[in-house]
Amino acid sequence: MKHLLSIADLSAAEATKILDTATELARTSDGQIKKLPTLRGRTIVNLFAEDSTRTRISFEAAAKRLSADVINFSAKGSSISKGESLKDTALTLQAMGADAVVIRHGASGAAQRLADNEWMSGSVINAGDGTHEHPSQALLDAFTIRKHLGKGSSDLQGVHVAIVGDILHSRVARSNVLLLSLLGAKVTLVAPPTLLPIGVETWPCTFSYDLDSVLPLVDAVMMLRVQQERMTELFFPNPREYSRYYGLNAERMRTLKKTAIVMHPGPMNRGLEISAEVADSARSVITEQVSNGVSVRMAILFVLLTGSHLEVGSM
């Protein structure tokens, strides 16, 4: 593996390898010393052309715990805002000797474009591209679900997960549907018809318009943020109506199984898709997702940046 661009590129064995590595790395960071010498002398660039808190900080923390040097680079305050193309940005990074680029971009396929061209020789890690994919988020979600509901097995056989909300604009949902089904879980998408993408019936999952009928059946419920910045049309009459039908409040939470967990990739719109009471409840694993994110991203960097990649495309 050289790049991590999309969950669709991963086999179940590769995904499991990342999750197993993350499990061992999480164990090391429980100890006293949190810094490992593993990636000493390697340079990792965080190229964020779109806003982010969790993902950028999480990749930065992961790289630093493995002793890599981190360069942060965001669109605001860089030449991207002066109109520099992705190609020229990539050539600059190559000239500086970046071993890996973590890229977040508003355009779907930006990470793929960076990896396909010979602009740079390092690994490319997709940290969210438009409405396409967000593979590291899906891996950390799968890691969290496996920890709580995996019953010690390495896959997610028999686990039922509901993903609720703005599926249409969500790269998190796309990556999660692919990964969770790859690992053997059953996935049900819940959203109003206007927020389900065209062709969703071909995805490896089921879907429903009715949250209340799905909640009692699932082991984990993942609430998605209503992405107002990507909404160029009217998808629901008003936020209050959305919240009434698709928001997770305390009353709905009580219909869940006793062992079920509540997840959210963040940032949350408290009061819209999730009520404050639910977000702060004992069932919520939202902050744990954030700490798991660091271990999972350490595992991703470890798997991509160690070993020669002679097995990739050499004859």
């Binding site: 590595t21 061992e24 090391t28 490992l36 593993t38 470890f302 160690t306």
Partner: protein, 178 residues
């Protein structure tokens, strides 16, 4: 292919190593055994078993994974990370015996010393190996050796243990070119 150590040879070597460890350390009171996964960890368990029979006392043992401390991570794909399990008593001020199957370049042991430094500060660190095949690249020497097997670089030494491979034996064979 030739068999360098049979199952009986291995068990005799481990008994001798156990006695030597006890002799060198004046008993087992301060000793902690740490095996390097995978096969070193199994050997550490066996040596701890033999030592506790001799001494009639519990010998603390654990594992020390060194994957994250290797200096060749850039060159070849790493093995899967295995757990590092340090016994309750810890290693602070103890006599730590590192256990591995084959001592070759010495780079694994260098990584192990780094990994150990992050866990604590032992009083002494000693090294027990089943096979020493020579060709050191670093100034590292084993304190307890099952068998010295002078070998050529185009040979490889394969250690099989019943825990992972079904049988106990050490075999010298021509190196397989990948």
């Amino acid at each position: 292919m030739s068999i360098a150590l049979s199952a009986e040879d291995i068990s005799r070597a481990l008994v001798r190593i156990s006695h030597e460890i006890l002799e060198r350390n004046h008993g087992s009171k301060n000793v902690v055994l740490l095996g390097i996964p995978t096969r070193g960890a199994h050997l550490a368990v066996r040596i701890a078993g033999i030592m506790s029979k001799i001494e009639g006392a519990n010998i603390p043992f654990g594992t020390l994974d060194i994957t994250l401390h290797r200096d060749d991570l850039r060159m070849r794909p790493p093995k899967a990370i295995m757990p590092t399990l340090i016994p309750q008593s810890g290693i602070e001020g103890k006599d730590v015996i590192l256990v591995d199957d084959v001592l070759f370049s010495g780079r694994t042991i260098r990584s192990a010393l780094d990994a150990l430094g992050e866990v604590g500060r032992p009083k002494t660190v000693q090294l027990a190996v089943l096979v020493d095949r020579g060709h050191r690249e670093l100034p590292i020497k084993a304190d307890f050796v099952g068998k010295n097997l002078p070998s050529s670089l185009d040979q490889s030494i394969r250690v099989s243990l019943s825990e992972t491979d079904g049988t106990d034996e050490v075999v010298i064979e021509p190196r397989v070119q990948l």
